[in-house]
């Protein structure tokens, strides 16, 4: 097993290296012809390795499934020894399967989607780089190596959001979006660095085996555990676009659609949830931090859902939905062992149905001449049947209609949210209600998206559109993801297969019964979901959708502007920061610099005075010298004379 795991990262890394370096050394004409297939092959090779490892792990008894592969000693400095190693356990392998399988499908899709882009090779190089970094992140056996992957996916995300930044003014939006994502992620990274520093100060090690052991966590004070937990949460908020660091995700849709599907829906943005679940031991030692995690999840869940209801741009609506769904996962991750398995389960099913929805959106955009405004779609079901059916499966999955995959995972989270917490009876009711309410709003905005795009008898297209399905390279991945959206939950959810699978990592969850009977929770959720969907169906399929967005209520207008998140950031953070910078700049220039410049000015003034002695007349110098000698002689004579007198 040791022999294979590094190849998971190795294949895409080598692919990225070849794709980036070949043109430098050997020119780009040759590699531009087959470079994209090299990218697909690198990702697929990684996927094959993942499958082999998966089957081997299934064949291993549950207690032997968590294996640390020591590769080499990375750095040894004083008390800090960090070994470079990979941890292969059911949790990391779940991620590996998701990343390589969905990643390879999206690679294949991109071959067709990016067909006309002259820079397709570079695109695949970045995609491979992303896959390598993401696998490093999830396979790392220490926080330090995890951080390497963490930064790697941030870099790949930045490069891909700004992929179409050609330097022309029209592409400025791409550059700004890329920078926004990068900078907001840096804020989260500060949290991860601080958490690592705290962990190192406490445990003297950064590998999961030592830092998260019972010894280490057990001896941690309440304050330390809370601080580490909150720092990790900050990191997770940055990477997973959770409140209050959520503003970058909507703008990140400026990147090509396959990027949105892979990075900003299925994998990278869920890294925060992975971090929370991986660090579960610390969170369990800090109930306050756990409560904050649940709160962040709940707020983001509603935030994303409300924003998603008002967006007319199909990609931005999906981005808001992603934010909201990750809010669900975050909420579950904060609920302790009862929630971990469902957080990861929802992450997995969400990876499938949201990637499918994004690729479907890409397919629609491809057919409609890169139009993203849903008010200009309508009636597309007849022209794009495959996209219609596969997106339909994704739609039913995200709604949580049984037996589609979202039902199994989301329902688990809602039930877990209703589990009472000792001493805080309000929590189960508040968070349970939020989760159910979120499901209803999800049903509304996803139904709205689905019927604005495919429903309606009268198309609202712009002139000269002839929508048609793309090449098989585009719709086969859609079919795979559609099948996954439909069946994955049933396969893994029935009888708790997935929960058992994760047990070696997250532990067995003994918990109280929910405050409401389970059948009532399921029924109530389904009822509000169907009501939400029916309302949207009535508004956007039965009634005509205006081509121009109506003015809408105050809430709609706020949601269109992402609930004023940019204005809030601008007022609360950017302006004060600019103000502070301005104060420092003026202080430096007018106080420090001016203060110090008194010294050279004084020297200059004295120089000006003494300069006048240099008349240029030789005779005046001679007189000066003669006078000086005379003075010295007189002084010497006086001194000697006085000395002699004594």
């Amino acid at each position: 097993m040791i022999g294979l795991a590094p190849w998971l990262i190795g294949f895409p890394l080598i692919g990225a290296a070849i794709l980036l370096l070949w043109p430098v050394v050997l020119g780009r004409r040759s590699i531009d012809r087959w470079g994209h297939w090299l990218g697909v092959a690198a990702s697929a090779a990684s996927g094959v390795v993942a499958f082999i490892l998966m089957f081997r792990m299934i064949g291993t008894p549950a207690e032997g499934r968590s294996v640390d592969h020591h590769l080499w000693t990375w750095l040894s400095a004083g008390g800090l020894d960090v070994d470079l190693g990979l941890r292969l356990d059911p949790l990391s392998l779940t991620f590996v399967m998701l990343v390589t399988f969905v990643g390879t499908l999206i690679h294949v899709y991109s071959v067709a989607y990016m067909d006309h882009d002259p820079d397709r090779r570079r695109f695949f190089a970045y995609l491979n780089l992303f896959v390598a970094a993401m696998l490093t992140l999830v396979l790392a056996d220490s926080y330090l190596l995890l951080f390497v992957g963490w930064e790697g996916v941030g870099l790949a995300s930045y490069l891909l959001i700004g992929f179409w930044d050609t330097g022309r003014p029209s592409a400025r939006e791409n550059a700004v979006a890329a920078k926004k994502a990068f900078v907001m992620n840096r804020i989260g990274d500060m949290g991860l660095i601080a958490a690592m520093a705290l962990l190192f100060a406490h445990a003297g090690a950064l590998d999961f085996g030592t830092a998260l052991s019972d010894d280490s966590v057990g001896s941690m004070s309440q304050a330390t555990a809370t601080a580490v937990g909150l720092c990790l949460l900050l990191a997770a908020c940055g990477k997973s676009a959770q409140f209050p660091l959520q503003a970058w995700l909507g703008d990140a849709m400026a990147g090509p659609t396959p990027v949105s599907a892979l990075i900003h829906a299925a994998t990278m943005v869920t890294a925060g949830v992975y971090l929370m679940v991986r660090s579960g031991a610390i969170l369990e030692a800090a109930p306050t931090a756990q409560l904050v995690v649940v709160l962040v999840g709940a707020v983001t869940l509603l935030f994303g859902a409300i924003v998603g209801c008002a967006k007319d741009d199909i990609k931005k609506a999906l981005a808001a939905s992603t934010m909201s769904q990750i809010g669900y996962m975050m909420l579950a991750a904060g609920l302790g062992p009862a929630g971990y398995a469902f957080a990861i389960f929802h992450l997995l099913t969400h990876g499938f149905f949201k990637a499918g929805l994004f690729l479907g959106a890409g397919s629609v955009m491809h057919a409609m001449g890169d139009q993203t405004d849903m008010r200009r779609f309508g009636g597309l079901s007849r022209f794009l049947p495959i996209t219609w059916i596969t997106m339909g499966l994704g739609w039913l999955a995200i709604l949580g209609i049984p037996p589609f995959s979202g039902f199994w995972s989301k329902d688990g989270i809602i039930e877990a949210a209703f589990i009472p917490v000792e001493g805080q009876p309000w929590r189960a009711w508040v968070f349970g209600t939020v989760a159910v309410l979120g499901a209803a709003i999800t049903a509304f905005y996803m139904t709205r998206l689905f019927f604005m795009t495919f429903g309606g008898r009268r198309p609202r297209w712009t002139e000269g559109q002839h929508p048609h399905e793309g090449s098989p390279l585009m719709w086969w991945p859609l079919v795979f993801l559609g099948v996954g959206s439909a069946a994955l939950g049933l396969v893994l959810g029935i009888g708790g297969t997935f929960t058992t699978w994760l047990e070696p990592v997250v532990g067995h969850a003994e918990h109280h019964e929910p405050v409401l009977p389970v059948w009532l929770i399921i029924t109530a959720t389904l009822v509000v979901v169907v009501l939400g969907a029916l309302l949207a169906f009535r508004m956007y399929a039965v009634q005509l959708v205006p081509e121009e967005a109506p003015r809408g209520s105050a809430l709609t207008r706020a949601a269109r502007k992402d609930l004023y998140q940019d204005a809030a950031n601008e007022t609360l953070v950017v302006r004060p920061a600019f103000g502070l910078a301005r104060v420092v700049q003026v202080g430096d220039r007018d106080v420090v610099d001016r203060g110090w410049s008194v010294l050279p000015q004084a020297v200059s003034w004295f120089g000006g005075v003494f300069r006048k002695a240099q008349t240029g007349y030789v005779r005046s110098y001679a007189a000066g010298m003669a006078g000086g000698v005379l003075v010295i002689a007189v002084v010497a004579w006086l001194v000697v004379g006085l000395g002699g007198a004594q």
């Binding site: 300069r611 240099q614 008349t615 240029g616 001679a622």
Partner: protein
């Protein structure tokens, strides 16, 4: 003959030389003043050597002569060059290096 007379003569000669340097404008004359001061010094050296019965002063006088000869060569060359370019031998005309 009282040996202090020589010292007084040296002092008078030095004063004449110094006054010449300070008061005259013509470079050649200034130069002559310098020479006069040097020779006044030489006279003082020799006088004190005799006074103390020590040859060091006399040896130093020779050194001064040699250095003065070299100085005359360089100094006259400079004065001639300045005269050629500026048509003047006045030291007050050469004041470009003023502050």
């Amino acid at each position: 003959m009282d040996i202090t007379n020589y010292v007084v003569l040296a002092a008078v000669l030095f004063a004449v030389g110094a006054t010449t340097v300070l008061l005259r404008r013509n470079a050649i004359v200034v130069f002559m003043g310098v020479e006069l001061m040097l020779n006044a010094t030489n006279l003082a050296f020799v006088t004190f050597a005799r006074m103390h019965g020590d040859l060091t002063g006399q040896v130093l006088a020779f050194f001064v002569m040699v250095v003065a000869a070299a100085e005359v060569v360089v100094g006259l060359a400079i004065i001639v060059t300045i005269f050629r370019t500026r048509r003047s031998a006045s030291v007050d005309d050469v004041n470009l290096l003023r502050g």
